[in-house]
């Protein structure tokens, strides 16, 4: 319990540090959106319009500490202001709609590649030099070392365009509205296959190799020999003794990956025009949309912290040795 409280304190501190950075970083960049827009209109706007725009965007000339306090207050109340690129939608709405798709895509891809990769790693190491162990790692490393955008574009071209097996873009078929129906669900699923599939293809090798290597070093431990000598069944030795210990480093890696689900799928979302957070972030950066950028960065930070906390909790269950720490 004390461990959990200490971790929570640490995460609160990390959160404060990151929102503070989040506040100062964009302000260190030259220019602001209003002047950018002013420049785009090449002098056809008069100063009064600029002032009106600045007011609408919430840009002010107030002292920095004042702005900082206002910022803290609005962050804590979930008010990130209005998006500039999606004006006049509030940032929070933009994030809410796109985050959902990113979470679906990211977590499906991550969970599948983690689970399949880990299980393959377990069996590969258990039957070392068997066919799983000799065929898969080189093959997966091969697919994993393709440049991702190339692989994704190739998949899009072949499966989506040439053979027309899978939809080309978006998260669900145009014309359907988000609802709890079988048709909508199926549409989401078919739209998910290519983006998630390509991510899985490039990331699964890493999970498998990581698990396989950890497993091989655990298998040479004395407690595995003792478990064998105890006459336990192969299944029990493989899972409760070997994999249970070997998966600890993988769980850490999983937590890190989980945190980056929110931000990670930028290229995927771009290639497959998937309406997620990565896509919004790209738009925000292009259009100097500070409020949206800040909002998304904040979401990413929050996601990383929450994911880390979840992993801490899982770790607490998995490894009794951290409980005393």
């Amino acid at each position: 319990m004390r461990f959990i409280l200490r971790r929570l304190g640490f995460y609160a501190l990390a959160f404060w540090a990151s929102i503070t950075l989040n506040f100062f970083l964009p302000r260190l960049m030259p220019g602001d959106p209003a002047s950018a827009m002013f420049a785009r209109f090449q002098g056809r706007l008069d100063p009064a319009t600029i002032d009106a725009m600045r007011a609408a965007y919430g840009l002010s000339d107030a002292p920095l500490w004042r702005q900082y306090l206002t910022y803290l207050q609005s962050v804590l109340t979930g008010d990130f202001g209005l998006s500039i690129s999606y004006f006049p939608s509030p940032v929070i709405d933009v994030i809410r709609t796109s985050m959902w798709w990113t979470v679906v895509l990211g977590s499906v891809a991550l969970l599948l590649s983690f689970t399949i990769g880990t299980v393959l790693g377990i069996f590969g190491a258990w039957r070392r030099s068997g066919w799983v162990d000799s065929v898969l790692p080189p093959m997966l490393l091969f697919t994993g070392s393709f440049p991702y955008f190339w692989l994704a574009t190739l998949a899009l071209f072949l499966l989506g365009f040439k053979y027309d097996l899978l939809p080309l873009r978006h998260a669900y078929q145009a014309g359907l509205s988000p609802e709890l129906s079988w048709e909508f669900f199926r549409s989401v699923l078919t739209h998910l296959i290519m983006p998630a599939g390509t991510i899985i293809l490039v990331s699964i090798g890493g999970w498998m190799l990581g698990m396989r290597n950890a497993m091989i070093s655990v298998l040479s431990e004395d407690y595995i020999t003792m478990a064998d000598a105890k006459g336990l069944s192969d299944r029990r030795v493989m899972f409760s003794y070997a994999a249970r210990n070997a998966m600890l480093p993988s769980v850490t890696a999983f937590g890190m990956a989980l945190g980056f689900v929110i931000s990670g799928a930028l290229v995927t979302e771009t290639v497959f025009s998937y309406p997620g957070l990565g896509w919004s972030l790209l738009t925000a950066v292009r259009q100097l949309d500070y409020p949206l950028m800040q909002g998304i960065f904040l979401m990413i930070t929050l996601a990383v912290l929450v994911a880390n906390f979840i992993v801490d909790l899982i770790y607490l269950r998995l490894d009794p040795r951290v409980r005393t720490g």
Binding site: S220, E221, D222, Y223, T225, M226, A227, D228, A229, K230, G231, L232, S233, R236, S240, Y241, R244, N245, L318, D319, P320, R321, T324
Partner: protein, 338 residues
């Protein structure tokens, strides 16, 4: 005469290496009677742990058993299929491993590690298994409440006791102890050995006791086998072995460490080092280091031969049933004084 509990015949274990195979256990035979403590001693790498692991067939590759028989109560362990083997392990022969530090699963409670050994062999409810683990922990002198502890929460000595509790969980007729106290300090070592002696009285199991600590060995064993480079070179009741060693290697071993009790003597080492097992000497594997070497020693291998008084030795100095006292011979030769 009673049947031996364990009868190892011409056991051969090889390690497959890239440059060829290493015969780590070279046609070794020995027997252990019910209730007997058989000590196996020799320097590191002579094959004693390999023998222990072969009996339970838990050798890890590249080690492979390539010949011989391991008869336990008359059944050949090497012929068993996977199911029979799983049943045989632990219920007939359990093992206390070298380092208690590493032989417990770090993410599993001590009590569960006892219970899963029980439940792998008997249809026992979780509750009954837990009750038995409480009993076993009491037997080895651990507070039963500690069954919920994880290995890292126990001291080295307690961990080794927990391992012993696991070993006793099915009340097996035989226990293999592979250097059970090497990783512990002398005080704890003494405690554990005394406890093992008591447990042996109480449960009556036989022991295959493996160590390189000769004083411990003499104290604890009924009969001792001395191993050198994969061979058992001499076998004798422990009371006789060091009074009258018959193999030059045993003599050398004995004169490599000081005795706490007994007469003062000059310490001599054994010159040279153990042979490269990739290309062992053709005859007696000890011949190149032996100060009493004879021409026939480097051409043919002496076999373990009885020399009377329940003793066996593999050395051409002795003829069957007619042992020679080698101490004066050894002392007159120019051995290296340390």
């Amino acid at each position: 005469m009673t049947e031996p509990l364990l009868d190892v015949r011409d056991l051969r274990v090889e390690y497959k290496a890239l440059r060829g195979s290493v015969r780590a256990v070279n046609d070794v035979s020995f027997q252990i009677m019910p209730g007997e403590v058989y000590g196996l001693a020799g320097e590191s790498g002579c094959g004693k742990s390999t023998i222990a692991l072969s009996i339970l067939r838990v050798l890890n590759p590249p080690a492979v058993i390539t010949g011989g028989q391991v008869l336990f109560k008359g059944r050949d362990v090497l012929d068993m299929n996977d199911d029979q083997l799983e049943q045989f392990r632990w219920s007939e022969v359990a093992m206390v491993f070298q380092s208690a530090m590493n032989s417990l699963n770090p993410v599993m409670r001590i009590g569960d590690q006892i219970a899963d050994a029980i439940q792998a062999h008997e249809r026992v409810s979780d509750k009954d298994a837990e009750e038995r683990s409480v009993e076993l922990l009491k037997v080895v002198g651990i507070d039963p409440n500690r069954r919920r502890a994880y290995p890292h929460e126990l001291s080295g000595g307690m961990r080794q006791r927990a391992v012993i509790a696991i070993a006793l969980s099915l009340n097996p007729p035989m226990l293999i102890m592979d250097e059970p106290t090497t990783a512990l300090d002398v005080v704890v070592q003494q405690e554990i050995m005394m406890q093992l002696r008591e447990l042996k009285e109480q449960f009556g199991f036989s022991v295959l006791f493996i160590t390189h600590d000769l004083s411990l060995l003499v104290e604890f064993s009924d009969r001792i086998g001395i191993m050198y480079a994969g061979d058992i070179v001499e076998e004798a009741p422990s009371s006789q072995l060091f009074d009258d060693p018959q193999h030059p290697y045993t003599w050398g071993l004995m004169h490599s460490f000081p005795l706490v009790h007994g007469p003062r003597m000059a310490l001599t080492g054994i010159p040279g080092s153990p042979p490269d097992l990739l290309s062992p000497p053709p005859g007696c594997r000890f011949a190149p280091r032996c100060s009493l070497v004879m021409p026939q020693c480097s051409t043919s291998r002496p076999l373990l031969t009885p020399t009377g008084n329940r003793r066996n030795v593999a050395c051409y100095l002795h003829e069957q049933g007619r042992p020679v006292t080698i101490s004066p011979l050894m002392e007159s030769r120019g051995t290296v004084t340390v």
